[in-house]
Symmetry: C2
Subunit: 556 residues, 2 copies
Amino acid sequence: MSDQPLPDTYVVGVDFGTLSGRALVVRVRDGAELGSAVSEYPHAVVDAALPGSGEKLPPDWALQVPTDYVHVLRTAVPEAVQAAGVDPSSVVGIATDFTACTMVPVRVDGTPLCETAEFVSNKHAYVKLWRHHAAQGQADRINEVAAARGEGWLGRYGGFISSEWEFAKGLQILEEAPEVYAAMDHFVELADWIVWQLCGTYVRNACTAGYKGIYQDGAYPSPDFLAALNPGFRDFVDDKLAHRLGQLGEQAGRLTAQGAAWTGLPEGIAVAVGNVDAHVSAPAAQAVEPGQLVAIMGTSTCHVMSGAVLREVPGMCGVVDGGIVPGLWGYEAGQSGVGDIFGWFVRTGVPPEYHEAAANRGQSVHEYLTDLAAEQAIGQHGIVALDWHSGNRSVLVDHELCGLLVGQTLATKPEDTYRALLEATAYGARVIVDTFAQAGVPVTEFIVAGGLTRNPLLMQIYADVLGMPLSVITSAQGPALGSAIHAAVAAGAYPDIHMAAQVMGGRQVAAYRPIQANVAAYQDLFAEYASLHDHFGRGGSEVMRRLKAIRRKASR
Amino acid sequence: MSDQPLPDTYVVGVDFGTLSGRALVVRVRDGAELGSAVSEYPHAVVDAALPGSGEKLPPDWALQVPTDYVHVLRTAVPEAVQAAGVDPSSVVGIATDFTACTMVPVRVDGTPLCETAEFVSNKHAYVKLWRHHAAQGQADRINEVAAARGEGWLGRYGGFISSEWEFAKGLQILEEAPEVYAAMDHFVELADWIVWQLCGTYVRNACTAGYKGIYQDGAYPSPDFLAALNPGFRDFVDDKLAHRLGQLGEQAGRLTAQGAAWTGLPEGIAVAVGNVDAHVSAPAAQAVEPGQLVAIMGTSTCHVMSGAVLREVPGMCGVVDGGIVPGLWGYEAGQSGVGDIFGWFVRTGVPPEYHEAAANRGQSVHEYLTDLAAEQAIGQHGIVALDWHSGNRSVLVDHELCGLLVGQTLATKPEDTYRALLEATAYGARVIVDTFAQAGVPVTEFIVAGGLTRNPLLMQIYADVLGMPLSVITSAQGPALGSAIHAAVAAGAYPDIHMAAQVMGGRQVAAYRPIQANVAAYQDLFAEYASLHDHFGRGGSEVMRRLKAIRRKASR
């Protein structure tokens, strides 16, 4: 029976988000998405009070509970397999992606300290979610000391280490909970911890090690640097952080009996090295060749792009060897507020009659405002906005920046301001694309993924402002599909991520094309944005920083 | 019976506003307000289609119908007398104030051309209301030619003649309806036309002649200047505009039989020289001495102040000899948008749950937002706004300017922005007060009148931002009371406006006192406002002008 086709095989990708995890079952030979399931985290984000003790958390804290992630493995994975209608025994691999930088202190066997009797009531023993922002003081010192010492790695991160990342979070534990610091054997990215749970092996993925762990050119920051932050921090890397690295798409290990019991998948199948939600979307969008930028547009936007050469791009989040696919430099940039800004405006700035009109038309307020805004000629509303309501992540790297609106009059209507905010984020994206080009790593294709791809006006505005076609990811579940692609590579079904992405990923090339008249019209408006951007973001006026300082003083 | 007191006498003040006229009966000996009545104009503001012909009006047109004003005399005046319960025979004088610059072309006997069969269907034959803005092209040329020729009077108006004023409106008639221009014997301020109707005599009041008619140092603009605008305009002053002037508080004439029949008042009583609503409020607020500034705060704010000396104050609306009271220089400044900005925000920028919460508390949305905003510490919202949503009338005199908001974040709530807008108008007022001081005519007392005096938070913010106590007018009907005071002077009951104002006007001195900690906190925020004001208003960035130009182009 040699002409019988081989039976189909499948892989499972699991995307761990901020509030829930999603499992997706994908056919290996063509990337067909056959079934998925979502499981909410029972504890969601812990930002008010610690579970159990009920201890109130300070401002800017954001924790999670590790058992919630195992809950996803136990529920969403078998449900997805069932929904797909495939035989679990034909699943050949599993891979995961996670929010980052999300960290947990663990024992040598991987047990989170928060699951030990000794530390169950210690808030520092829990998972510190990416958006835990209470280590800003530590981050400020990291940046000051690194700049003063001229640490070479600082340039790889646009000159700025975030309070969200591994070193700031680790230093906060040392300084605020030395007993937790002393007790932890490893300080682990959840992207790697979840893989450890599945295959029993701790492998540190190259992506977070580079972007969040300051691993550059084969080394972490030196003991001398760490000691300059705090003498007790000198051995942080060797004692708590460093571990065997794994490249993306590699096999971290094989599914343990425990992992098989949780997921209902066969023991011994391939478990891929961990990954980050944004970066893993690149193969799902077939965006793994140099110059292909994928923008994952949601509440914020993350831009990832591979490059054949290393360039230090001013104000980028980071450049990491093998950060997206092995063998290429992975560049990351970001816009801190995108959908979040639109959502804030709809929530707080739209009058009752608009809500009523939208409801009468069976639309969301977003859809209604978009329809009204779409009727306008470019520039008709007379407004330019700066999209810094959550600060600026790229290229200014300044979280003290804030929103700006210029041009409102007594005739300004909600759809005018809404459109101006849509446009502002497009201008922000163009600044990033222009900066890549100026640094010698030009963007040759702009590919969009994420929830905002559902707004065609927004997509057309981006095409017109960027002056280049927009490709759109095919999958509505980019991260989970990306993980599934990694699983297929780890299982040996494809030789590398490039090949797997070509077959299993998908994008609609040039789904939106720039309209030349619009491109010309937006040139003038972008020039206004750029001028305001530089005035308020590059030292022309420090009013935003001063307003934040006044605000902090007044709020005390 | 020599110790019998004289029987009480009364005066009537009539305030002609944009949509209605209000008559007020006032006791001469103490200014007691005994009765009032309001009468709406049947045609309101004609800005869509001409009555009768139905001809559609172009954008920026705003007309009125003169018979509507007579309707007020026939209804509101007798109703007010009846409401006051006084014997009409004890009324000794009547005075009026009007919006300005509101103009009508008339025959030699005062008949408006729109009431003639020949011109009833010609839109240029109607009253051009103050907010008729369709003569901007004429105003631009007036300013260009005046600047180029170095006309000395230009400095008296802050370097800028408005499209609302007499010369722009007259030139528009010449150029767009030469038949109307040729047919008109006089081009008359309604402030004077209504007095003409009452007493049969045309007297041109010194206030509008100066502020709106460019009458300075005993002369109007020269025939050569006018010919440079348009050869046919050379004799505009002599042919159409110039007429006997009357000082404020003087008697223009005596009530005719016709006027008595309309109003029910005794024939032969004193009719005062006409006046403008803002300027006439000054005596009602007892603000007729040098340095006493009265701010009439409503949709916009008009600031009037008398001064003993002549100074050319940069960016003022005008300085006129006897413009507020005879014998002193009358200074006028203005903020184009104040209550209008708050109203626009409440109408277009406040979400449904705020409207519901306000309704549940039995409050207006303004009141609800004010209560929420009042709980904040100064600077806590982190926002600074520029109050230029209607342009800037003083001190920048630039209607191309527009609104600006800096400092919004995803945490910004509607009450934050609302408070920032309240504060922005206070900063705008402070710029005017500072400019007066720098020009050598310092403000020694800041007195507020108008509808916005009802908002105590706004009043306290003004006191704190200005760093000086706020006095508040006693009357809720300032213009009508001011007119009544003029009537009393014209009737000879008082020797001059100063004496009459002391007795009949009223203000609560230092009703709001600056709180020193607040004054200090607002210094920093005002510095930010001032820096943005100068950057966007004085050439640092021309973005606002460019946005307006882009907008006009896009709207074509």
